[in-house]
Amino acid sequence: MTPPVVDVRDLRTHIVTRWGTVRAVDGVSFAIGEGETLGLVGESGSGKSMTCLSLVRLVPRPAARILGGQVLLDGLDILTRSEDEMREIRGRRIGMILQDPMSSLNPVFSIGMQVREPVALYHRLRGAALTDRAVALLAAVRIPSPAQRLRAFPHQLSGGMRQRVVGAMAIAAPPRLLIADEPTTSLDLTIQAQYLGLLKELQQRHRFALIFVTHNLGIVAKICDRVAVMYAGRIVEMGPVRRLFTRPAHPYSRALLESIPRLGVRADRLAAIEGQPPDLARLPGGCAFAPRCPHVMERCRVEAPPERPVGDGHVARCWLETPA
């Protein structure tokens, strides 16, 4: 097997707040290979975004700090790099696309100036060669008449178009790892589908590893190879998409899958997960999901379950899956 592009080991990021220390990322480990897509799902506040920001070392300081673990990018730990080296890595080797296309472009510069900037930076191009490359990038993200669009300003483009421009800038290097933090949440459905298709296509061409953060399980099923379910800062279950969707091992994943409304199935009430997401500053001693778990046992409340394999490439943190 080829070595993974990114190998995250026991990553810990804590946030110090007035109400206590929040373990936003609490021992997260995963690895993604070339051309592979990992879906990161979970409720709001489960640590998905904080995990991604930790990978590029842009957690909101001074409150948040990466306390431990390793992030190996092509075998080298980026958590031990200097800030200058890190700036070289961001954009060039790890690209990221954020959620809100409306504010992700600088309103005072034309598209051309903004797309040229990373290209000039990463490839040391100038003049006509630079413009050609920028046009090619816009064409790669399926922007119609890209040469004309260079002169447009962000407010003259629709949300979907802007998100494509952001995508074009993110793959300018092209990076080894692309992190997409809910990039389609604010796009409408048809545009969403187009954008996802585009991401897949770009991935096939450039072979980057892709982390796709979302709470839309439909998207996960569509574009991800594997999926990691996060709860309270931990990956509670991770495995190949098909397997995890058909045979979820963790009660939380099961509940997530059941909460998707289905066509043709009449339900007076939508299935929801009982209770509230936990207060991350005051987590219970054992399994964080125990207070909401329908299968909770005595052991769950006192001892946190370790990660155990439950199938081929499929792991879960649950006592139910662990023979006692």
């Binding site: 700036r87 961001r90 954009g91 690209g95 954020l98 504010s103 992700s104 600088n106 005072v108 004309q148």
Partner: protein
């Protein structure tokens, strides 16, 4: 764009009308400011009498339309027989340059402080903003009087005294703007693309705050001209015999019932210029940055 359908012709015809509506230039303020600027620039070429030349025989000559007036001194003469028009023209150099230089110094420094505070946040922000608050609580006139008494009144001291206090306002406004901008994704996106502090500040924060800065600068030029005139009026500003509008008003103070023109014309000059800058500032604000109504 090649072969666009006819529907796209509509905005083309509508566009010029909309553009002219949005870009109706404020003729009065621009005219007044332009006139004073021009006159100040070419003052030596206007063939006016020396503003310092005294003539005791021609003391308190009234303006030309009064019975005793003459074209030799269109706006009359002052207590020492100096030509009022010439003194107002030369005085415009003092007032305008004091206004512009002070505001440029204050805005450059204040903007730098505001950008730094807003960008770095945390302790840096807290320290810089407390200094800013302290500065804002200090009266300009008092500082200028202290400088005038200790170092002696001069053009430089006036500029320094005002700029040393005035920057705080820019720092406040810039910090507020930066804090809003920092919430937007394009700043995060820039950082994700590997941009450092300098790049983010110069490429993303400064261009997005220039409009606000321009509005504030214009509005403050008028204010600085008034402060400079007040200081000169109090004798803590530009020292005589250099013609400055504020000290000219002061010189006519005692004779305002008999030789009203000595105070009135410099006063009118201040009124016109300050009004023009304020109107221009209002227009810029409404055009570029309608969010700034409270300024």
């Amino acid at each position: 764009m090649p072969a666009e359908p006819a529907a796209f012709a509509l905005p083309e015809t509508a566009a010029p009308a909309a553009a002219s509506r949005g870009w109706r230039l404020p003729m009065f303020p621009l005219g007044v400011i332009g006139l004073f600027l021009l006159v100040a620039l070419v003052a030596p070429l206007l063939g006016l009498p020396d503003p310092h030349a005294q003539s005791l025989r021609n003391r308190f000559k009234p303006p030309v339309w009064e019975e005793a007036g003459s074209w030799a001194h269109p706006l009359g003469t002052d207590r020492l027989g100096r030509d009022m028009l010439s003194r107002i023209v030369w005085g415009s150099r003092i007032s305008l340059s004091a206004g512009v230089i002070t505001v440029l110094l204050a805005s450059a420094f204040g903007a730098a402080v505001g950008l730094t505070a807003g960008y770095y946040g945390g302790r840096v922000d807290a320290v810089l903003m407390r200094v800013t608050d302290a500065t804002m609580s200090f009266p300009v006139i008092l500082l200028a009087l202290i400088l005038a008494v200790t170092v002696g009144p001069s053009f430089t001291n006036v500029v320094v005294a005002i700029a040393v206090i005035l920057w705080a306002r820019y720092a406040r406004v810039m910090r507020g703007q930066v804090l809003t901008l920092m919430q937007l994704d394009f700043i995060a996106q820039a950082r994700l693309a590997g941009a450092g502090a300098w790049r983010i500040i110069t490429r993303h924060l400064v261009p997005n705050t220039l409009g606000t800065l321009l509005v504030l600068v214009t509005l403050q030029i008028g204010y600085v001209i008034i402060v400079e005139a007040s200081l000169s009026f109090l004798g803590a500003g530009i020292p005589p015999p250099t013609p400055a509008w504020g000290s000219m008003i002061a010189e006519g103070r005692d004779v305002v019932t008999s030789a009203w023109w000595v105070s009135l014309f410099p006063g009118l000059a201040i009124l016109l210029v300050v009004l023009a800058f304020n109107l221009l500032g209002d227009w810029l604000r409404d055009t570029f940055d309608p969010k700034l109504r409270q300024l």
